[in-house]
């Protein structure tokens, strides 16, 4: 019966995470103001968890809950502080005296382009995003970025037509929209970056010879015979073949191992 206890113990340890926090387990509290209204919430929660604790059930402004999707953009001020701050609600712990509101949607124009015919040249950015010329280098976008990206720098790189730089600087962009909503020049930075990365990915590298070769081999049926053999094996025979293959793995997996 030892085994069953393990699962029960695990479930017990995780209860607050999966069922919501129980008031009686809380030692430390914070007061936050959701759209101006005060709520007393556990101090150890993220903004998202705290709003749920307060009684909100999300439809918008909640997505992956792990910092990858950009759904939970949040704007807040701390009491007594002039600064308007930005955060992802799922990745930010509540602070006492936080006044917050979420951004459920960010209206933005995305230009349409055909990636097979678009020109990979320096002024392509300006062709599809002429408004980037309005950038006044105020750096508000960078300050707004909850991923701490150098947003203004990649807009400047876009102005110069530097696809590689745009791709590198913007790679961790989760398209939350906070930069675009703060930009006085009304640039949609995350769409500029998306265009830059796609162009760089598509045109910035030569064809991968290994991949091209493998695709040709598959289409020519090079592996058909081997597949036929593997699919005909049953029971212990396939297990033996598997074991044999696993036994070769150290040769291939060590650092700098066979390519």
């Amino acid at each position: 019966m030892v085994k069953k206890d393990i699962m029960e113990e695990i479930a017990k340890a995780n209860k607050s995470v999966i069922k919501g926090v129980d008031k009686k387990d809380i030692e430390h509290w914070a007061t936050i103001y959701i759209m101006g209204k005060a709520y007393r919430v556990p101090a150890d929660l993220t903004i998202m968890q705290a709003m749920e604790y307060a009684g909100y059930k999300f439809i918008r402004s909640c997505g992956c809950r792990a910092g990858f999707c950009g759904a939970c953009s949040t704007i807040y001020r701390l009491k007594g502080d002039y600064k308007l701050q930005t955060a992802m609600a799922c990745q930010t712990r509540v602070e006492d005296g936080m006044y917050l509101v979420q951004l459920p949607f960010s209206p933005a124009e995305k230009p349409i382009y055909d990636i097979d015919t678009v020109e990979y040249e320096e002024n392509s950015f300006l062709k599809y995003f002429p408004e980037i010329a309005r950038c006044v280098s105020c750096n508000t976008c960078t300050k707004a970025c909850p991923q701490d990206l150098e947003v203004m720098d990649f807009i400047q790189a876009a102005l110069r037509g530097d696809f590689k730089k745009v791709a590198e600087l913007s790679f961790d962009c989760i398209q939350c929209g906070l930069c675009a909503i703060r930009c006085p020049a009304e640039i949609v930075q995350y769409n500029v970056a998306q265009f830059g990365r796609i162009m760089y990915g598509k045109y910035g590298f030569k064809e991968n010879e290994f991949l091209e070769k493998r695709v040709t081999e598959i289409k020519e049926g090079k592996f058909d015979k081997e597949f036929k053999r593997l699919l005909s094996l049953s029971g212990n025979k396939i297990v033996d073949v598997y074991k044999k293959q696993q036994a070769t793995k150290s040769k291939y997996l060590k650092k700098g191992g066979k390519k």
């Binding site: 695990i10 479930a11 995470v17 991923q147 398209q175 290994f210 297990v239």
Partner: protein
């Protein structure tokens, strides 16, 4: 605010354990515990894996899979009433007439739309519907990579063997063959669309090993692989102006009034409460998995919307499920701090040298066993050997010695390869470049799902399923990097299959709730009363105190 003193994000007793780990670090570099034999793997699975230990499951009482076992949380949904009351719904008023309805806008659904279009279906005859935003999915959260056997020392058959062994030889062979054989083709497709995979100095792909792989075939985009893949194919989708509806989950499928064929769906506008009727010649279900059911009380890595909607809808329509009894627990979910419990720490960390270490600073497991084995061994170390580290919230966990990555691969590797992880821990005061992070297995993936053939077809005409919602390709355990691959390969395949299925299809199908009448009768015959409603669409995290006192006036 927390009253206990934190040193670099950790309380004092955890810090003491870190000191022990630091002492053994030098001698652990390049020295790993031996991998387990198949017999040893079996033993630890039986002892500690949530799927193998008693409890947590029961038999499905009605329907096509009657008698099969599944997690209790899943069976409860299969036994529930429909989310809609059919008498409230007027089927004579069709809101959307389309050729191909795609349910779900992750990698799978988005790829399916593109391939349907490539194969002759005009964009205005495709409709993609999402529960939340287009792209809200488990796909976008995938970190580690995408497998494809493109290196000269590798091949699709070698990939096949790795995956079938990892799946304990329960994978559907013909479907798995399609996955591994299409993998390089799918990889080329997304590279040509502009996905930026990690590259070496000379422009070749960086290829990494993963748990259970015998070659290096993982293609990663730092630790944002799914995000990069998804935003690229979604941008192409938007460039083609394919119609899409957001915040419109499917709450019930529609079927022909005479046959079992799926002929459309009922959508529910989440924000207005309105419903919409879609009639479609073919329906592709790409709704993802079930992490937010918190099976066996585990936290999860999954998206907010991962609530098993797809299997519930398909099952009521008569679709056959496969491997419903297995759940994938990822060995390395975050166990500390409280704010991020359950979130994914990619397997790529171990691919690049991070080692699981117990509270005394000792390594106890080969870091890259298949996921179920690795997870079981970690549970054993915590709960049977009592060598886990206890956190202030009472969780137990194991260290993942991340600083090793820089020691092995050179300075700044962690920062460059795992910006997402570094950022997440930094937000909560922990520096994973200098300090280890605490991990515990977390609910990660729905191994099974609706049974499909290699073309994405199901036993129900007009219904195609792909991605995590499908079952068979991974058998009872999926390997790292085969999930994003599954989404892209079978998203593409299902789009193509659906396009050829509707070719020359002139007849307008009837739409009805005939399947619900049939399903309702099964309850009656079995003498069971349906409980609750499903699909649930979203999990419930509001505090108990609020829910108990809520006045439901709106």
């Amino acid at each position: 605010m927390s009253e206990y003193k934190l040193i670099g994000g950790y309380p004092e007793d955890m810090r003491k354990s870190i000191e022990k780990l630091e002492k053994t670090r030098d001698r652990r570099v390049g020295r790993l515990p031996k991998g387990m034999t198949l017999e040893e793997r079996e033993e630890v699975l039986n002892l500690c894996h949530p799927d193998y230990t008693p409890g947590g499951k029961r038999k499905i009482p009605i329907g096509v899979n009657k008698g099969d076992t599944a997690p209790t949380e899943v069976v409860e949904l299969l036994e529930a009433n429909p989310a809609i009351d059919t008498k409230d719904i007027d089927l004579s008023n069709i809101d959307y007439e389309t050729d191909i309805l795609i349910i779900g806008g992750g990698l799978t659904g988005t790829a399916a739309a593109l391939l349907a279009n490539d194969n002759g279906v005009p964009v205005e005859k495709i409709l993609l519907v999402n529960k939340l935003r287009h792209g809200d999915s488990n796909s976008i959260m995938a970190q580690g990579g995408t497998q494809a056997a493109d290196s000269p020392v590798d091949s699709p058959p070698i990939h096949y063997l790795d995956a079938i062994g990892g799946g304990h030889f329960t994978n559907k062979p013909d479907v798995l063959k399609a996955l591994v054989e299409e993998a390089p083709i799918a990889l080329k497709w997304i590279v040509d669309l502009g996905v930026l995979f990690d590259r070496t100095e000379d422009g070749d792909f960086v290829r990494l090993p993963g748990g259970g792989t015998s070659r290096k075939r993982m293609h990663a985009c730092k630790d944002y692989t799914g995000l990069e893949e998804l935003r690229v194919i979604r941008d192409e989708f938007r460039n083609r102006k394919i119609p899409v509806l957001e915040f419109c989950p499917v709450v019930e499928l529609l079927t022909d009034s005479v046959t079992d064929k799926v002929t459309g769906a009922v959508l529910w506008e989440m924000e207005t409460g309105d419903y919409k009727i879609v009639r479609a010649k073919a329906t592709i279900l790409a709704t993802g998995g079930f992490g937010r059911l918190h099976i066996r009380g585990f936290p999860t890595t999954n998206h907010y919307g991962a609530t098993a909607d797809g299997i519930v809808l398909a099952y009521r329509a008569g679709a056959k499920l496969k491997d419903t009894d297995t759940v994938q627990y990822h060995p390395t979910g975050a166990a500390y701090p409280q704010q991020i419990i359950g979130l994914l720490l990619t397997e790529k960390l171990r691919s690049m040298g991070a080692q699981p270490i117990n509270k005394e600073g000792e390594a106890f497991v080969y870091p890259l066993e298949p996921r179920d084995v690795e997870a079981s061994r970690i549970i054993k170390e915590c709960y049977i050997n009592d060598m886990g580290v206890t956190t202030p919230t009472g969780m137990k966990g194991i260290w993942l010695d991340t600083p090793l990555i820089d020691i092995i691969n050179g300075p700044a590797t962690i920062e460059k390869s795992f910006p997402g992880m570094v950022r997440m821990f930094k937000r909560f005061g922990i520096d994973m470049i200098k300090d280890p992070v605490l991990i515990f297995p977390t609910l990660h993936y729905q191994n099974g799902g609706v049974e499909t053939d290699p073309e994405g077809r199901t036993n129900i005409k007009g219904l195609f399923v792909a991605g995590e919602a499908s079952g068979g390709v991974h058998g009872k355990n999926r390997l790292m990097g085969n999930s994003t691959l599954d989404c892209i390969v079978f998203g593409r395949i299902s789009g193509k299959t659906a396009a050829s299925y509707i070719k020359g299809y002139k007849k307008k199908d009837k739409i009805s709730f005939r399947h619900l009448e049939k399903y309702g009768k099964l309850f009656k015959d079995a003498g069971i009363k349906a409980k609750g409603r499903a699909p649930i669409l979203l999990p419930e995290y509001r505090g108990k105190a609020v829910l108990e006192r809520m006045i439901d006036v709106f």
